[in-house]
């Protein structure tokens, strides 16, 4: 039971991280109609920046803040140099162009930071355990991740639904020309949104950095899972992305934790241990297939698309 609770928290944490990636993807798609495969590269770059800045300044928090700002700048630069030219083009062009960007970023990172992975040490005050229930301990850092991502989700909600910028973003998604005609600098708005998406992905990456090894290509596998999230949630819907991300995070983590035991009930122990790892990697894709059969547009389709 305690193990189950811990797995659920891990799942929640993975789900919230996925939400950070999926929110950026779905924002960029919903507003600029742009498929960005290179989104995972920002995840990777955020983690590398965090590793470097933490090592330079010797302070984890300062390193994280600097890394976040740097990822935001890189994202905006990429938008101005490359992405801007892809708006309004065929989706296939987006796929190809951003596929090229992935190759570029992977090699660039290899050139700058070298092929070996990096580790980010946690400061002592985060590297402790926290008692969530009497007798149940959970790493403080993971709780911090959950809190920070929840705050970011709230911030996104307020930003998009309650501020003037958010109003412009929503208006830009509906009718780009009209917003431009009303005197809004739509190019600047797009650059900001793209930078915001990149920073969200970077935040996800840099928060994972102390838990995982920072390495080249780390963004690609999680990016595909983020795609699964936005397909389940409905492309363009932030609310859908949030719910689907938590669903996917929980199913993936809890599935990995408990599927072997469940399979052992119906199969021989050897058979169960042979297929359990593959089965649990497949769970979220099966979920996606099931959702597609019932609702091809995802759980929360955006009506004006």
């Amino acid at each position: 039971m305690l193990l189950f609770l811990e797995q659920c928290l891990n799942g929640l944490q993975l789900g919230l991280l996925l939400f950070l990636l999926a929110a950026g993807l779905t924002l960029i798609f919903g507003i600029m109609d742009l498929v960005n495969l290179a989104h995972g590269s920002f995840y990777m770059i955020g983690a590398y920046f965090a590793a470097t800045f933490t090592a330079l300044t010797g302070n984890f928090i300062v390193g994280v803040v600097l890394a976040l700002a740097a990822t935001l700048l890189v994202g905006m630069a990429v938008e101005v140099i490359a992405m801007r030219r892809l708006y309004g083009r065929d989706h296939l062009d987006h796929v190809l162009g951003t596929f090229g960007l992935i190759l570029f970023f992977n090699e660039l990172v290899r050139l700058i930071w070298g092929p070996a992975g990096m580790n980010v040490p946690l400061p002592a005050w985060l590297n402790t355990h926290f008692q969530i229930l009497p007798g149940v301990e959970y790493p403080t850092y993971r709780i911090a991740i959950i809190l920070v991502t929840l705050l970011v989700a709230l911030f996104l909600y307020v930003l998009v639904m309650r501020t003037r910028i958010g109003m412009l973003i929503r208006a830009g998604a509906t009718n780009r020309e009209m917003v431009g005609a009303l005197g809004i600098n739509i190019n600047l708005l797009y650059t900001l949104v793209f930078g915001l998406g990149a920073a969200l992905a970077g935040l996800a990456g840099l928060m994972q950095a102390p838990i995982l090894t920072v390495q080249i290509g780390m963004g690609e596998n999680i990016l595909i899972v983020a795609f699964v999230v936005i397909i389940i949630g409905g492309i363009g819907s932030i609310r859908g992305a949030f719910i689907a991300a938590i669903l996917v995070g929980l199913i993936d983590t809890v599935g990995r934790g408990f599927l072997p035991d469940i399979l052992r009930l119906i199969l021989s122990p050897r058979g169960a241990s042979a297929i359990a790892p593959a089965m649990s990697s497949m769970l979220i894709y099966l979920l996606m297939a099931a959702v597609l059969v019932v609702r091809p547009e995802g759980l929360f389709p955006v009506s004006n698309k």
Partner: protein, 330 residues
């Protein structure tokens, strides 16, 4: 200008003649690596041609097409491992299994369109990738070595590099011819019509879903054949051959060569793979006099040039090489 003697047709014809006589040249110059490289190019060109059928003509951008290479390859590898070395068993089995997978995946994915289709095919590819990683009995992550190439009762000896090359070449031409016939048939017209305006095709009374699904299955089957060939070529199968970046490479080949043209994928495969082989040498050659040791070091990072180059092709050369040749024929 003579209708047949366009610049594009001359380049294609030259390429075909080059491919036909390549083994002779390789034998004379004593450079067997050329045959190995170009066998690989022919096989991947076949996979790209199958992708071109659904992507170029049908508008279905599959970002998971490399899995059929993997499926075809794994069928050959697994049958070889289990004691069925005969190609008469292995190859039809590879085709049938690929077709079945394409049928299931297509039936699910074709419920969607556009970006959804791109991402869903990618996700299914990832799913099967994990299945291959989980195949402990057949090497899992490390892959499976094939100790003998498919045997055809002494009719053809695939272990001979030259014979295998010509088998691939003939099959590739067969596939390109088949696709060309297919897209000019009534079936192909429906597929192309459905790309342009699916609703209108349905209104005329065509059950376009079935047509598109059939097209998807044909494409997957052809790609499965290329997988069977690739397994024989490398004598090794592993999950890496169906990694999603492989699917990306296939899309690059099709777009680079020219989407929706019969020989585009072949041109694209030759261009991309020859470029990949040459770029490190070119960087080294041109850079060394200028930058010395640093250039030799930089040639390892050739993808840093490849990536932006792709972006440039997307931005400025929409029709790919095929389009450039057709445009500049004045």
């Amino acid at each position: 200008m003579n209708g047949l003697l366009t610049r594009r047709n001359i380049v294609v014809a030259a390429l075909l003649i080059f491919l036909a006589v390549l083994p002779v040249y390789a034998a004379i110059s004593g450079n067997p690596f050329l045959i190995t490289l170009f066998t690989r190019i022919l096989i991947l060109a076949m996979a790209a041609a199958s992708l071109n059928l659904i992507m170029g003509y049908g508008g279905m951008v599959s970002f998971g097409h490399a899995i059929y290479i993997g499926i075809g390859g794994y069928v050959v590898g697994i049958l070889a491992q289990e004691g069925f070395p005969s190609g008469f068993v292995q190859w039809p089995a590879a085709l049938i299994v690929s077709a079945l997978f394409a049928l299931v995946i297509g039936a699910l994915c074709l419920r969607t369109r556009g970006v959804y289709f791109i991402m869903i095919t990618l996700a299914f590819a990832q799913l099967l990738y994990y299945v291959a990683v989980g195949l402990d009995r057949y090497g899992g992550d490390d892959g499976l070595t094939i100790y003998a190439r498919s045997q055809f009762a002494g009719l053809i000896n695939l272990s001979s590099k030259t014979q295998f090359y010509y088998v691939c070449l003939v099959l590739l031409f067969g596939v390109i011819f088949l696709i060309w016939r297919l897209i000019n048939s009534r079936f192909g017209m429906v597929i192309q019509g459905s790309r342009t305006n699916d609703r209108r095709m349905q209104a005329i009374g065509f059950p376009t879903f079935r047509y598109r699904l059939a097209c998807f299955v044909i494409s997957g089957t052809i790609c499965g054949l290329s997988g069977a060939l690739l397994a024989n070529h490398t004598e090794f199968v592993s999950p890496a051959m169906m990694h999603w970046t492989r699917s990306g490479d296939l899309i690059v080949m099709v777009v680079l060569g020219g989407m929706g043209s019969p020989f585009g994928p072949l041109i694209g495969a030759v261009a991309l793979l020859v470029f990949e082989e040459m770029l490190p040498f070119v960087i080294k050659l041109l850079g060394t006099p200028l930058f010395g040791e640093a250039a030799a070091h930089a040639s390892e990072y050739w993808q840093i040039i490849m990536g932006p180059l792709l972006l440039l092709v997307v931005l400025f050369a929409r029709g790919g090489i095929n389009g450039l040749l057709a445009k500049g024929r004045a």
